[in-house]
Subunit: 500 residues, 2 copies
């Protein structure tokens, strides 16, 4: 009965182990590695990925998948085994079209692009970075050509980060979101004097910020025996394997939210990974499959929990004590929810954030479909930024060079941030419906009920389901713009004291 | 002409890349990893090693090696290419006898053994550790059985750490060393009141020790762009790849030499790795092949440089300034060279150190040859310790559980420490012959002339030559006990003011 399933499982364990090693190489690359180790690291990571890729796409894997599917005929399609075979078959069909050489080139170019980006951003030197971006675009185009069942080039890329999501669907949602956000932000900017953000600016020594963050992360169940937090240039979360979840953050000594909310965001990702059952670890379903779903977790913790009136009541006395400030919960609440167009995506407020994403989504489609040349990107960036966010970009470091994604060859990833917000809107609504005392818990600093709810609804499935499948299960329908926009309007109406 | 050499090179690059990844997993395991990640890490490392092993031992690699050897017929045997084929062929002949499954089991057991050891040592609980040691011994025996050309089981293990070295030769050298050290130490213990070590004991805050160590490592050419230093339980050095050398250390706030000399020791290893030319990196000859040679470097920097009268003249004012001490160079020099039997190998002085090694060498031969049961090891350890070092072992944490080696499955490694001292004796003598102003340089804190000399004589060869081949090149003969013992007697005669 398990002539194929057992060897398939062993093969997937092996692939998971290689993925673990790759994750560690990436984590180290961005946190610990001495700078001159970059070239060797690019080689090492590329080889590791190539070996992984070759083993995955072998005909042998295909035969095992086919045989295991036959063995599982009649099994519950939601079972771990049936899901494993279904999801891995889908990935295998995609991966086997990609020559191992191309996969290795993409990995290698991504690692080199990352290092070139770090240097280019420091000097705001787009010209030095452009060849690396061009190579990543060229490689992405070659990658796209490996498939013949997508409607457009961008579909093939987006599908890697949110399986089953299509460009047309994402574009419809993000256009609608843009249509809602532009007038909303316009109104709030007109009333910007109603919210005073000055309590967030001041002198916040990193050592004390760490204590605040450690307190908050402890409420979120960060545990030193199974987690790490380190400093980096561009914060991220990565799960190395069972019992080993790593988050990174960066600090701004004159602006409090950077470190705090960055850490809550990454911890939200980490809770997803850490909440996936051990039985799914080493099956290649041991990570969240959809980055939109992933982002729904991180942004819910960062914004819906972290910037809630209830949690500001938990934060305010701690902030006061640690930094010698007099700040009441209401003032803090209004300050951390202030809407103001700004240059840097990861520092953007909850409303303007969506526009940062929409413009990247539009620009990367233009790049990949050949409607925009790499050389013309900064100009296009700055123009789109002015149009949506009404401000002039002073230099490329604060513009097109601010994000790591394109540098690492990650194209098609950005929309998942906005889709994540939309999913979070649904989940937040549903969590309130099902947990009437949710706000009281948060006000008391008790974050475990929400974590348990999310674990049950989302985390425990690991990579078994697509975002659409999860949405169907949890909210009974597809993702919509309304719940998120309603949440935002309700919150900001209160913060600004105006009807939105 | 290069129908085999070029693909062989590509294969070796791939193996080097996988080795790099493995090195990073090991480094992380012992420095950064959250403790609950241990089980996943053991899997990941084992799979990585198994994949590496399978690719290395394939018949394909054998054909490439054979073909490349033919292509290089008539080439200078010392050339990079000829050396590569010669050394890799030797390793291939050995590795291909080892089933991939066994290799993976050994890696897995070593990683698990390491974690069990950390916990067992903390609780001084040998019984909890014994099953892991038993498994490592059993696996080592199965490993030994893969070969039919060694005279004894221990030969096959020792050959992994010092290729070409044989048990009989090592035993002759270490017996002679023991014969020299026992009476020497006996005499010095009788005169122990002649050296006052009290300046080394006191209050040495870690932050200030770090500054001292950073100063000293800078003199040794530690460069943050290419090196890291981190804290760990059991210090080690590891080279991840070109431009990425990592050392680790541990600190004792009440005893100065632990951190300082530990760091100089590991930096000595690092200088070897960092001194290997880029042309040899990614050929699998990019690391030192013989651990005896490796140890000759680390112990030379730690003891012959770091504990020299000249370097103590560099250290004393810095130590005085950092820790608010009044200590003159002569007092410091005598203190750091005091000979006194003590429990912990890595804290032992230069003379008793050899006896720590001799007893481990003897005990691990007994274990592997089946003359000693794992259950009886603590008793045997304590008896041998009493015999050689005259003190009673109070508990296993300070006895048989103090070292990581056996826990990690590293059996046959210990003699390389003592052989390294002997080689260092030769090199130190030769360096003085060839650089008459060496002592003046060291007294001025100028350590680069020695590093350059070592780089030219040793480092630049990477893994091309065995320790015997290097000795033949540099000193024109085999390793002897005399140079090291003469150096030690000369130094200690001065320190103690007695004729030795």
């Amino acid at each position: 009965m398990t002539a194929n399933l057992e060897p398939l499982r062993a093969r997937l364990e092996e692939l998971s182990d290689l993925d673990s090693a790759g994750s560690l190489l990436e984590w180290d690359h961005q946190t610990m590695m001495p700078v001159s180790g970059g070239a060797a690291r690019a080689h090492s990571l590329a080889t590791l990925r190539q070996v992984r890729h070759e083993r995955f796409i072998s005909a042998d894997t295909g035969r095992l998948l086919e045989g295991a599917a036959a063995e599982l005929d009649g099994a519950d399609p939601d079972s771990d085994e049936a899901s494993m075979v279904r999801v891995v078959s889908r990935r295998w069909e995609k991966a086997r079209r990609v020559p191992a050489q191309l996969a290795a080139e993409m990995t290698h170019a991504g690692a080199e692009g990352h290092d070139a980006w770090v240097q280019a951003r420091a000097r705001s030197d787009y010209a030095a970075f452009a060849p690396y971006l061009q190579r990543n675009i060229d490689l992405a185009r070659r990658y796209v050509e490996c498939f013949d069942w997508f409607d457009c080039a961008y579909d093939a890329l987006l599908d890697d980060y949110d399986p089953g999501m299509r460009t047309a669907v994402a574009a419809r949602l993000l256009n609608e979101l843009r249509g809602e956000l532009l007038p909303l932000i316009h109104t709030l900017v007109e009333h910007s004097d109603r919210v005073d953000p000055s309590c967030l600016h001041g002198d916040f020594p990193v050592a004390r910020q760490r204590r605040l963050v450690e307190d908050v992360l402890a409420m979120m169940s960060f545990d030193r025996r199974a987690w790490r937090m380190d400093d980096t240039v561009h914060p991220f979360e990565i799960s190395i394997g069972a019992g080993d979840t790593r988050i990174t953050t960066r600090w701004d000594e004159s602006f409090l939210p950077m470190g705090l909310y960055g850490a809550m965001h990454e911890c939200g990702h980490g809770l997803y990974e850490a909440g996936i059952p051990d039985a799914l670890k080493r099956t290649t379903l041991g990570n969240g499959e959809s980055l939109s779903l992933h982002e729904s977790q991180s942004r819910m913790w960062e914004n819906m929990v972290g910037r809630s009136r209830e949690f500001c009541g938990v934060l305010a006395p701690r902030v006061g004590e640690l930094f010698g400030l007099k700040v009441d919960a209401d003032t803090l609440y209004r300050a951390v929810n202030r809407v103001a167009p700004s240059l840097i995506r990861v520092e953007a407020d909850e409303a303007t954030y969506g526009l940062h994403i929409v413009m990247r989504f539009e620009l990367e489609q233009d790049l990949i479909e050949g409607r925009l040349a790499v050389a013309d990107l900064p100009e296009a960036w700055n123009a789109r930024f002015k149009e949506y966010l009404t401000i002039d970009v002073p230099d490329d470091a604060h513009g097109v060079l601010q994000d790591v994604h394109w540098a690492s060859g990650t194209i098609g990833y950005f929309p998942t941030y906005a889709l994540g917000n939309l999913i979070a809107g649904h989940l937040w609504e549903r969590a309130h419906d099902e947990m009437p005392d949710l706000e009281e818990h948060i006000a008391a600093g008790e974050l475990m009920p929400l974590r348990e709810w999310l674990r049950d609804r989302i985390h425990r499935h690991g990579g078994k389901f697509t975002s659409a499948e999860v949405m169907e299960r949890v909210v009974g329908g597809p993702v919509l713009v309304t719940p998120f926009v309603d949440y935002l309007k309700r919150k900001l109406s209160g913060v600004y004291g105006i009807e939105l």
